[in-house]
């Protein structure tokens, strides 16, 4: 007897974020900002999926949305193993791994409440990547180290 499998339906246009570290899909959704999506878009989330590469992984599919480089950078911060596929007309048009740039602009708030970047000044928050494994950032203004990114997403 064939085994029945429940699959996520393919999307016509949009983005598939695969190989997300197990358990972090909802945080990835938070970074993407699903509340800002087109109201007719479907968002599919698969948690705890078997993966040859990672053991277990999460997957997020978002219809009618292509990610900005800023969003990709933020995903790279929390899920460095993620891969991103751009789907157009049901076909994968572009596939890439996320890559952490040397500087992270605007995605995080500095955890130091007394940092000048938390004042109403005409500057974006800015962090330098000071270590890569595991990722540690340093505020470009007050030099505070940050390794707990989820708590400080802007």
């Amino acid at each position: 007897m064939p085994v029945r499998e429940l699959k996520i339906t393919p999307i016509k246009n949009g983005t598939v974020i695969d190989h997300i570290t197990n358990g972090l899909a909802l945080d990835v959704l938070r970074i993407i900002g699903v509340q800002r999506l087109d109201k007719d878009s479907t968002v599919s989330v698969a948690l705890h999926v078997r993966s040859g590469k990672l053991g277990w992984k999460d997957i997020v599919k978002v219809e009618n949305m292509e990610l900005t480089s800023r969003t990709v950078n933020a995903i790279a911060l929390i899920a460095p193993t993620a891969t991103i596929s751009i789907i157009r007309d049901y076909k994968v048009r572009e596939k890439r791994t996320v890559d952490l740039p040397p500087r992270i602009m605007g995605i995080l708030r500095c955890p130091n409440p007394n940092c000048v970047s938390n004042l109403p000044e005409p500057v974006e928050s800015e962090f330098e990547v000071s270590e890569r494994r595991p990722v540690v950032l340093k505020c470009a203004f007050c030099e505070r180290r940050v390794d707990d990114f989820l708590r400080h997403l802007a």
Binding site: C115, V116, L119, E121, C142, E143
Partner: protein, 312 residues
């Protein structure tokens, strides 16, 4: 290697060689700082003192340094009297100020303010303390004091005593000393220990670090005892503050067991951590330290604003 036209926001902006070069220039500046020799390399230069937080020593020593070099100052000494009260951003205030002066010296209550100012300014910015963050010229004058006393910074055993958690002077100083191969002894109440990320950075730089809660044992074979103020506002309980502050009091009894050449340093103002009786002993270096602020800041301003070095 030239500091001409550069900002100084953090001690990390300077290489070890640049620090050594500044300390050497500061040593040569001493007679000019005392007024026994006169030179005017900053004649016709205007330096803006943008002090958004109260300061006595730092502002006056910077102003003295500018005046001794023949330059002039324009000063914001009270942020309440500026347009920032009307909601003007620090960014705009500094941008405007940089069109009036050749360099800006800034003190501000928020960490990172000097870095922001450096981005806003078209002229060099010197950080004179940003919140609990950086105070690089304090570090330079601390190093100058040690170098004057011992002729070297290498191999010194330096005890950092007091509030190592919030004290901005000790963070920058520890970083700089680590680069010179000094041995650091951290001596503080448990609640005011040097934060772990700072310790990790120091270890990463190859610093020899030890933690010693007993002041007497820490002072035993030390060359420098660097004392910082334990700030009352860091404690919720007044009795707890008194107990901690009292246990870190430096007096003749404590110094009786020290090396004869040990120097006691303090960024001042002191609030009872160093007993007045220490002033008359050869150990007291804090007033010399306060004086060296002038030649050190003269050397820095001269490098940043004076004629560029040939080949620099």
């Amino acid at each position: 290697m030239s500091l001409h036209g550069r900002d100084l926001v953090s001690i990390r902006d300077l290489s070890r060689e640049e620090i050594e070069q500044l300390l050497e220039s500061a040593r040569k500046m001493i007679p000019f700082a005392e007024g026994t020799k006169v030179a005017k390399p900053l004649a016709e230069k205007i330096v803006a003192m943008a002090f958004f937080e109260p300061s006595t020593r730092t502002r006056l020593s910077f102003e003295a340094a500018v005046l001794r070099l023949g330059g002039r100052c324009i000063t914001i000494a009270d942020a309440g009297a500026t347009s920032m009260r009307k909601g003007e951003s620090l960014y705009d205030t500094i941008r405007m100020l940089s069109s009036y002066a050749d360099a800006i010296v800034i003190r501000h209550p928020n960490e990172g303010a000097a870095r922001l100012a450096a981005r806003a300014s078209e002229r060099p910015v010197i950080n004179a303390g940003d919140g609990a963050g950086q105070h690089p010229t304090q570090t330079l004058l601390d190093l100058a004091t040690m170098q004057e006393a011992f002729g070297t910074l290498t191999g010194l055993k330096v005890v950092l005593l007091g509030d190592l958690k919030y004290g901005r002077t000790v963070h920058s100083l520890a970083y700089a000393l680590a680069q010179f191969g000094s041995e650091l002894v951290l001596c503080s109440p448990p609640a005011l220990r040097l934060p772990e990320d700072h310790r990790e950075e120091l270890r990463h730089l190859g610093a020899r670090l030890t933690v010693e809660e007993d002041v007497k044992r820490a002072v035993g074979d030390a060359d420098v005892l660097y004392v910082t103020r334990v700030q009352k506002e860091r404690f919720s309980d007044e009795d707890e503050y008194r107990a901690v502050a009292g246990s870190y009091r430096v007096d003749s009894r404590l110094l009786a067991g020290a090396k004869p050449r040990l120097i006691v340093m303090h960024p001042l103002p002191r609030a009872g951590e160093v007993a007045p009786e220490v002033d008359a002993t050869p150990h007291a270096a804090y007033f010399r330290q306060a004086f060296l602020a002038v030649p050190v800041r003269m050397a820095l301003l001269n490098e940043v604003l004076g004629s560029p070095r040939r080949g620099g």
